[in-house]
C-alpha cells in the first residue's frame, strides 16, 4: 500500500532541548496510526511537524509525496488538523465558525451547508449550531472541532487527543466515524486512552523523550513481549521489605506498585506460584496474564513507578 506520511530522522530543538530526536515514521494510506507517550514526550510537536506548523531543525519528510520543507501550502490543503486546545472565533456562533472555515477552504456555499448539515446530524449537534462556543460544553466544542477538521475533505487527518475528557457517547461517535471512514483518510491520532488505541489503531508508535522507542501493529508490539507474563497481585497489606523480596527474587524481571496492587513482570516460563509464594499469607487476589499495550507502554517509557 502507498505511504502517505514519511518522516526521516526528524530532529526538532527548542533551544538546547530536543522535542523530537531522530524520529522516523511511515504511515500507509488509509491507516490509523496512533502515537502514545508520556506528557512532554514530543507527541504534539510530531503532529505539528506533519501539519507543517512547526519546521524541523533537521531531517526530511514527505506528505502524499510533497516535500515537507518546500510545499507547506499544498500539504496544508490536504490536512485536517484538530489541536489539543479548543480553538474557536469566540465572537462567532459554532455554525458561523464552520462557515468561516469552509469559505476559507473555498467550498461553495450550497455544498458547504450540505456538508455541515450532514456532519452535525451525524454528531447529534443540530440544536447547538447557533450557540456561541462559550455557551456549549467541552464535549460539544470537541465534536465541532472534529467536524471542522474533516469539513474540507482532507486526505490526512491529524488528531491531538480528540476524545480526551469526553463522555462515552462522544467517544463512540468519533471512533465509529473513524472506523467507517478510515479509507478516506490517513489518520495520525495522539491518544492517552490506551483502550481506544487498541480498538482503532492499525499501527502504534510509542514516544519517549522525543524518540520513537517502539513501533508496530498491536500484534507486533505484543510479540516483543511474548517472552514475558504479568502477575497481578492484590495484597491485604504491603511492607517495606516487599521491595527487597521482589528485588532479590530471580523470577522477577521488574515490577510496579499501586497501593496494595503489585504488577510483576516475569519470564513466560516462570510459574505464578513461584511469585505468589513470596507473599502467600497476605494474598487477596492473584492472576497471570499476557502483557497488554498498557504494560508494554509502561515498560518502554521511563515511568517512575517501574522498578527494574
Amino acid at each position: 500500500m502507498a505511504v502517505s506520511i514519511t518522516l526521516r530522522n526528524i530532529i526538532k530543538k527548542y533551544g538546547d532541548k530536543a522535542a523530537l530526536n531522530n524520529v522516523t515514521l511511515g504511515v500507509e494510506k488509509g491507516h490509523i496510526h496512533a502515537v502514545i507517550g508520556t506528557t512532554g514526550s514530543g507527541k504534539s510537536t510530531l503532529l505539528r511537524v506533519i501539519a507543517t506548523l512547526c519546521v524541523p531543525s533537521l531531517g526530511s519528510g514527505y506528505i502524499n509525496g510533497l516535500n515537507l520543507g518546500a510545499r507547506q501550502n499544498q500539504i496544508r490543503q490536504q490536512i485536517g488538523y484538530m489541536s489539543q486546545d479548543s480553538r474557536f472565533e469566540e465572537s462567532l456562533t459554532l455554525m458561523e465558525n464552520l462557515i468561516l472555515q469552509g469559505k476559507l477552504h473555498g467550498i461553495a456555499e450550497a455544498d458547504l451547508l450540505n456538508r455541515i448539515s450532514g456532519f452535525v446530524s451525524r454528531f447529534e449537534m443540530i440544536d447547538k449550531l447557533h450557540s456561541f462556543p462559550r455557551e456549549v460544553s467541552y464535549g460539544t466544542r470537541r465534536k465541532m472541532e472534529f467536524i471542522r477538521a474533516v469539513l474540507h475533505n482532507p486526505t490526512i487527518l491529524l488528531l491531538d487527543e480528540p476524545t480526551a475528557s469526553l463522555d462515552l457517547g462522544c467517544k463512540e461517535l468519533m471512533e465509529t466515524f473513524l472506523r467507517e471512514q478510515k479509507l478516506r483518510f490517513t489518520t495520525v491520532i495522539i491518544s492517552s486512552n490506551i483502550d481506544q488505541v487498541e480498538r482503532i489503531a492499525d499501527r502504534i508508535s510509542i514516544l519517549d523523550e522525543g524518540r520513537v522507542v517502539a513501533e508496530g501493529t498491536l500484534k507486533e508490539l505484543k510479540e516483543t513481549e511474548q517472552e514475558n507474563r504479568i502477575v497481578d497481585l492484590t495484597l491485604s497489606e504491603t511492607h517495606e521489605r516487599d521491595f527487597n523480596i521482589l528485588d532479590a527474587s530471580p523470577h522477577v524481571s521488574s515490577y510496579s506498585v499501586q497501593g496494595n496492587h503489585y504488577e510483576i513482570i516475569t519470564e513466560a516460563d516462570v510459574s505464578p506460584e513461584s511469585i505468589t509464594s513470596l507473599f502467600s499469607d497476605r494474598i487477596v487476589q492473584a492472576s497471570q496474564r499476557l502483557p497488554s499495550l498498557s504494560d508494554i507502554f509502561k515498560r518502554m517509557v521511563k515511568a517512575e513507578v517501574i522498578h527494574e
Binding site: L53, Q77, R87, F88, I99, L100, K103, L104, H105
Partner: protein, 252 residues
C-alpha cells in the same frame, strides 16, 4: 483571493455588528470628542474670523484620529488574533492563508474600508455641526493623501500585530507610541496656521508625513508634490516592510 476576501469580510461584518459599540461607536466618538475638546475652548477664546480658520484644522485632526484608531484596531488586533494567539493561529494557518498574499490583501482592504466609513461618518457629522465650507478643500489631493496615510497605518499595524507577543502590547503601541507622536507632531496644537506648527520631524516621519500633505490639501486647497513624493516612497517602503514581516512570520 475571492474566497479569502468573502470569508474574512463575512467574519468582520458579523463581529462588527456584534461589537458595534466598541468597534463602531468608540472610534467615531473618539474623533468627535477630540474635536469638541478643542473646539469649545477655542470658541470662547478666539474671535469669529479666527475660528473659521481653526475649525477646518480641528476637523482634519478628528478625521486623522478616527482613521488611525479604526485602522489600527482592526488590523493589529486581527493580525494578532489570527497569527499570534494560541487560540486561533494554527486554525488560520491550516486554512492555508498564513503568509498568503490573499490573506494580507483581503485584510488590508477590510481595514481600509472600515477606516473610510468611519472617516466619512465623522466628516459628515462635523460638516453638519460646524457648517464648514468645502470651497478651500482640494478634495482630490486630500483623498490621495488620506489613502496613502491609511496604507501606512495599515502597514504599521500589520507589523505591530505580527510583532506583539501579548494582546496587551497592542494598546501599548497605540497609546504610548502612535498617538503621542501624532499629538506632538504639531497638527493638534494649531491656531490659525496649522502647517507652520507642524514639528519638522513630522514631515519625514511615517506615518505622519502624509498629514503634512493632507494638511496643505485640506486647509489651503493646494497639492504639495514634494510631500506627495516623500509620502509615496514611505508608503511603498512600509508596505514592502510589512509584506516581508508577514511572509517571514510563522517558522516556529
Amino acid at each position: 483571493m475571492n474566497n479569502v476576501l468573502a470569508a474574512l469580510w463575512h467574519r468582520e461584518l458579523i463581529i462588527y455588528r456584534r461589537q458595534f459599540i466598541t468597534a463602531g461607536i468608540m472610534p467615531i466618538l473618539t474623533g468627535l470628542i477630540f474635536f469638541f475638546m478643542f473646539f469649545l475652548p477655542y470658541k470662547t477664546l478666539l474671535p469669529v474670523q479666527e475660528m473659521e480658520r481653526v475649525i477646518p484644522a480641528l476637523v482634519l485632526d478628528s478625521l486623522l484620529l478616527t482613521l488611525l484608531i479604526t485602522i489600527y484596531e482592526t488590523t493589529a488586533r486581527f493580525y494578532w488574533e489570527t497569527q499570534r494567539s494560541n487560540g486561533m493561529a494554527s486554525l488560520y494557518e491550516m486554512g492555508r492563508y498564513h503568509r498568503q498574499p490573499s490573506f494580507f490583501i483581503a485584510q488590508a482592504i477590510i481595514s481600509l474600508s472600515k477606516g473610510f466609513v468611519h472617516l466619512i461618518v465623522v466628516w459628515a457629522i462635523l460638516i453638519f455641526l460646524t457648517e464648514m465650507s468645502f470651497e478651500r478643500i482640494n478634495l482630490q489631493a486630500s483623498i490621495v493623501f488620506i489613502l496613502l496615510g491609511a496604507l501606512q497605518i495599515v502597514s504599521l499595524s500589520k507589523i505591530i500585530g505580527l510583532l506583539a507577543k501579548h494582546v496587551d502590547s497592542l494598546s501599548k503601541f497605540l497609546y504610548v507610541g502612535l498617538l503621542p507622536i501624532m499629538m506632538i507632531s504639531g497638527l493638534f496644537l494649531v491656531k490659525g496656521a496649522p502647517l507652520e506648527n507642524i514639528a519638522e520631524i513630522a514631515f519625514y516621519l511615517p506615518p505622519y508625513n502624509w498629514m503634512a500633505g493632507l494638511d496643505a490639501a485640506f486647509l489651503r486647497g493646494t497639492i504639495d508634490y514634494g510631500f506627495l513624493l516623500i509620502c509615496l516612497i514611505e508608503s511603498v517602503f512600509l508596505l514592502w516592510l510589512s509584506a516581508t514581516f508577514f511572509h517571514l512570520d510563522g517558522d516556529s
